[in-house]
Amino acid sequence: MGGWLDSHLVSVVDGVAFGLLLFTLAVGLSLVFGLMDVLNLAHGTLYLAGAYVAYALSDGSLWALLLALVAGVAAGTLGGAALTLLTQPLARRGHLDQAVLTLGITFIAADLLAASFGGEVLPTDPPTALRGSADLLGHTYPIYRLVFIGVALAAAALVYLVFERSSLGALVRAAVADRDMVRALGVDTRKVLYGVFAFGAALAALGGVLGAPILGPGPGVDETVLVLSLVVVVVGGLGSVRGALVGALLIGQVQTLGVALLPEYAPFLLFGTMLAVLVVRPRGLLPSAVRT
């Protein structure tokens, strides 16, 4: 057992890093869907935008990263607000129309981004202070990914506490479960909806800024990110923060430890896992409490 752990330690740790990256993406998608019934297929574009912001601003200093974080979050918030405005007129028309709209926006944004940044994948180097590798019980591991795990864990804990423990979170969860009931309590649910959409979008863009050195911006990355987050969301269960966290960590391990253990089945692992989970639990691992 010790030998097994030793030889796969890096995969497990890296799976955590990857899973936390997925969590920052999936949680917004999940909440927006749970709250507003909006299937936001432009979610991957928000990541891509954040990653391009990180690329454009990076100059090796920590200040540049901080600046990128601020700019990325601002861009994500604006993007989220814009998407809310665009999808609201379709609120009563069902998921498909929203899917067509947001996918159309994705296509347009992808084309414009490729036109301004070119067709190459642009990997962003982490700040100089965070470059290089560290020793992890005898294995080499990139320092940036360790730092990323720390930061993302903090962010995940914050999101978790806000949504699961605070009164604001209780309000959002109540709105997910029964929007009319919350409205009857005199709360302007539209403000909650806009807030959550903007928050989810900002988080995805934040993921893009922090994730750029791990999953760099380029054509097609928006689609990859979107599909991965959708998988996480349905595996974890729609509309739940805890579900997104569990789903993200599971998919992270599947993508690293799973590939390390079963390399010959690598092409089938991601979707095979999703099928298996949904066959056993059609509503995902931890679906939001009330929803009919």
Binding site: A99, V100, G104, P267, F271
Partner: protein, 339 residues
Amino acid sequence: MSPNSGTDIGTAARAGSAARRVPAVMVLAGLALAPFVLGSYAVGTLSRILVLALLAMSVNLLTGLTGLATLGQSAYFGVGAYTAAIVARKLTDVGVVQLLAAAAVSALVATATGWLAVRARGVVFLMLTLAIGEIVYSAAVNWKSLTNGTDGMSGIPPVVPLPGMPALELDGLVYFYVLAVFLVLFAMVAHLAGTPFALALRGIRDNEDRMRAIGYPTRRYALTVYGGAGALAGAAGALWVSVQRFVSPGDAGFEIAALALLAAVIGGSGRIWGACAGAALVWLTRDYLGNLEVVDGHGKLLLGALFVTAVYTLPRGLTGIRVPRGLRSVAWPSRKRTA
């Protein structure tokens, strides 16, 4: 008695049907005459659009009729295409045999995999079908002895529609073969749309619990239409091989599935021809407009703009542009708010 409570559901509409048939006849005539007027490329494009229209119709059986949005129909399209390609290379160049084999294998695969998918609804159904599509795509890439991997299968002989007929090399002749099969399949779907089965599917789309309460085994219905839609996609795949004389994993991939779903949605679920019109619009935008010199590779921008515009300006899809009233009973209803 009520004015239209005769024994035939179509009594009211019968009077108006002659006028309604004029555009249909005109479209048919246009399709029939196209190869005499249009050049080779245009006719080839038309052939491909007819095939993709069949795929969009297959999506519409699930999405428009039954309310199950799918991103997996390219899987059965691909299975049908590979089946037809293998039959064409190893067995016979007779098109009908390829079509039947492709439809049968696709129906089989669709029923086996659909068993997983029809347990779910909504986004989860969508993701399950996406997973099925991706797994079939990966199988096409990796099962090299059967599919020749990412290189794809070429060297497919020109199609012989029926035994004894000549092999069709020219684009115009292949087009007639495609059109003939298209019309037959279109008629079959049109027939299906008027049956109690289709009415039951609409019932499932609108209120599945209620359907169970009147005694319908809804999952069996969903699985049946899933298998049937798979067969239709498979037949389209066989035609695709007759037109392209090539098949590669991309034909079973995400892009085709997504575009087919989008075509079905912007076409509107109201009428069968909506999906066809949607498919024509989507693929003409991508392949024709996208390759115009002024556009220079910004085909995706155009597609995106098309989707955004369509959603806002055509809330009922293409078929909603002019909604004919009256004969809603048998044709599929337009998308409507249920208030």
